[in-house]
């Protein structure tokens, strides 16, 4: 157990170092950092002085070490475009993205699990077939088109929901939330649903497949034979056992929800990190790009790690599998 966690930790550190290296290479070799920072009328001598001051003449490995050291403390330098510390910009935008991701993860669970259970229990009903076909179309549609269609329907034709921004926000210390005001709540419906749709279909299909699998097992047959009420068999016995993979998959999907939020935020002009990142790409604002990359990687690595450890704790069957497959 301990050796497994240590091995996983080492792997995670390696992944983070690789990502940090890519981010550092971006930072140093894409364009000239000096000419990105100073004005046109800076003399050559001043530029050289700044270069020396920033340590850009140091050996590669020293610079990389310094970059990692600063990154660990959350310091990614100044944004070329906004002329503010990148960490401040990201801290300011993070609540919006996390709120959106959280609400849509919640939505996809609250809609996906019941739909999956329903389609598994009533496999041959017309409604189930409609839901399954609908989910295939849902997977094929690009996220941004779903967003645009929703804006057209709810924002332009029926005018019931706001089409951009977060609405009014309330500041709680350093965290700003839109979940406490009416306009904020209204604003989050469409972006969260757009973002949730893909994960929802994923969870639904997963729950359905797992349910069908478990309904065939002996212990369910035995429960039925014992004459337990249908509801108890379906929900207390079957559903409970489907939830382990569902929880782990949802955990793994949180990372990609945050990444896919880039698209949703862009469609709905949601002032989160994704929008910041897209603007940074258009402006070639390398420090923001590098910081975003490292942060997303950190999210992914941490979530992966937690999920892996949870696997071990929750499901003893996997322990045997994993050890025997030598991972």
């Amino acid at each position: 157990m301990i050796s497994f966690i240590v091995k996983r930790l080492l792997q995670s550190v390696l992944v983070m170092l690789t990502v940090a290296f890519v981010a550092f290479a971006l930072f140093n070799y894409v364009g000239d950092p000096i000419s990105n920072m100073v004005g046109q009328d800076t003399t050559f001598a001043e530029r050289e002085q700044l270069r020396e001051q920033l340590g850009l003449n140091d050996p590669f490995i020293v610079q990389f070490g310094r970059f990692v050291g600063k990154a660990v403390q959350g310091d990614f330098g100044l944004s070329y475009h906004h002329k503010q510390p990148v960490s401040d910009l990201i801290a300011e935008r993070m609540p919006a993205t996390l709120e959106l991701s959280f609400i849509s993860a919640l939505m996809s669970l609250l809609l996906g699990i019941p739909l999956g259970v329903y389609t598994a229990l009533h496999r041959d009903s017309i409604i189930s077939k409609l839901i399954m076909t609908g989910s295939l179309i849902g997977v094929s549609l690009p996220t941004f088109l779903i967003g645009i269609l929703m804006i057209l329907l709810f924002g332009v034709v029926w005018r019931v929901l706001p089409t951009f921004g977060r609405g009014d926000v309330v500041h709680l210390g350093w965290w700003s939330t839109g979940l406490l005001t009416e306009s904020g709540l209204k604003s989050i419906i469409m972006p969260a649903f757009t973002l949730a749709l893909f994960q929802m279909t994923l969870i639904m299909r997963l729950v359905r497949a797992e349910m069908l699998e478990i309904l065939r097992t002996d212990f369910i047959k035995f429960a039925r034979a014992r004459g337990l009420p249908k509801r108890s068999v379906n929900y207390r016995h079957a559903l409970k056992n489907t939830l382990v993979p569902v929880i782990t998959i949802t955990g793994l999907q949180i990372g990609s929800i945050i990444a896919f939020a880039i698209i949703t935020e862009s469609v709905f002009q949601w002032p989160g990190m994704g929008l910041l990142f897209i603007q940074a790409i258009s402006d070639v604002d390398i420090p923001i790009m590098a910081a975003y990359l490292v942060m997303i990687a950190l999210f992914f690595v941490v979530i992966n790690l937690i999920v892996d450890v949870l696997y071990f704790l929750v499901d003893p069957r996997l322990r045997v599998d994993r050890v025997s497959s030598g991972r």
């Binding site: 992944v15 690789t18 894409v30 897209i278 790409i281 990359l293 997303i296 992966n304």
Partner: protein, 305 residues
């Protein structure tokens, strides 16, 4: 040749194809869109890139069936610059398909190549390649494509970048998709490597490169076709998404995604057709290719037979 055709039409693949109306419909739709895209310069009613032919006075006209401003010359209406929507869709589908096919081809070459080497050579090379694959797989493809595009913007000056945008996109989407091919081919190669015909080839002294590409490659390409078809739909979506986000194909030679982006600005003033028609074209294309891919996967999967 005649024999081969006969075998094909008697085979399982053709049987399952000809007995599923949805699959036939998807194939027809895909083929029609591809043909329309290839022959766009001949069948499009207007040339949207001929600056002399477009008139700003024709801008933002609704579709032809609109009783107030509809113009019979512009079947699906015009955009903000007076370009015919139908023509821009035909030309746009051309770029979307070009980027889609080219980036899938790039992914296939890279992924299959690395997968073959990884599976055949094994050892440290294998570990190294598969570690990179693991790291890359933990990020969504779109994020990697975005990043590569961002880097390209930093390296090339602005004017040059617009010219190179299509190639940058092909490279970015291609790089973001190689892992699946590499993993599949690696697995298959490791199985094939142990078989007698490979040992025989090795014993009679054929060079490793020749063994890899002439002997093993033909035997591991089966699943590549299936992944490729599904990947094509994904690549088209990725291209459209990047162009929609404004980091893909520039508006001067728009793809479907760029057209949707342009139209998005006019959604609120009621000019829905500028966005919706390219959107519908994109949905049709992606849905048809996806359904074909699903069918191919089931038809070629021996487990489901």
């Amino acid at each position: 040749m005649k024999q081969a055709l006969k075998r094909f039409f008697d085979g399982d693949l053709w049987y399952s194809f000809s007995h599923s109306p949805i699959v036939i419909l998807s194939a027809v739709v895909t083929l029609l869109i591809i043909l329309a895209a290839i022959f766009a310069p001949w069948i499009a009613p207007h040339n949207p890139f001929d600056l002399a032919a477009i008139d700003i006075m024709d801008s933002n006209l609704p579709p032809a069936w609109n009783e107030f401003d509809g113009d019979i010359r512009f079947l699906l209406g015009t955009d903000d610059q007076g370009r015919d929507i139908l023509s821009t869709i035909l030309y746009g589908a051309r770029i979307s398909l070009l980027v889609g096919f080219a980036s899938v081809a790039f992914s296939v070459v890279l992924g299959v190549g690395l997968g073959l080497v990884s599976g055949y050579v094994g050892g440290r090379t294998d570990t190294f390649i598969m570690r990179i694959a693991d790291v890359q797989l933990s990020f969504p493809a779109i994020l990697i494509a975005l990043l590569i595009d961002g880097v390209a913007r930093g390296i090339f000056p602005r004017e040059l970048h617009d010219e190179l945008a299509v190639y940058v996109l092909i490279f970015a989407i291609g790089i973001s998709g190689w892992v699946q091919y590499a993993r599949t081919v690696r697995g298959a190669t490791m199985v094939e490597k142990g078989k007698e015909y490979v040992q025989a080839a090795r014993v009679i002294g054929i060079r490793p490169g020749t063994i890899l590409f002439r002997h093993i490659l033909p035997n591991v390409t089966g699943p590549v076709l299936v992944i490729g078809t599904i990947h094509l739909a994904l690549a088209i979506i990725t291209e459209a998404t990047l162009s929609f986000l404004g980091v893909g194909v520039p508006p001067t030679t728009p793809s479907l995604g760029t057209l949707i982006r342009i139209g998005n600005d006019y959604l609120f003033s009621g000019e829905w057709w500028i966005t919706i028609f390219p959107g519908v074209a994109l949905i049709l294309l992606v849905l048809a290719v996806n359904l074909l891919g699903d069918w191919l996967r089931d038809a070629l999967n021996p487990k489901l037979r």
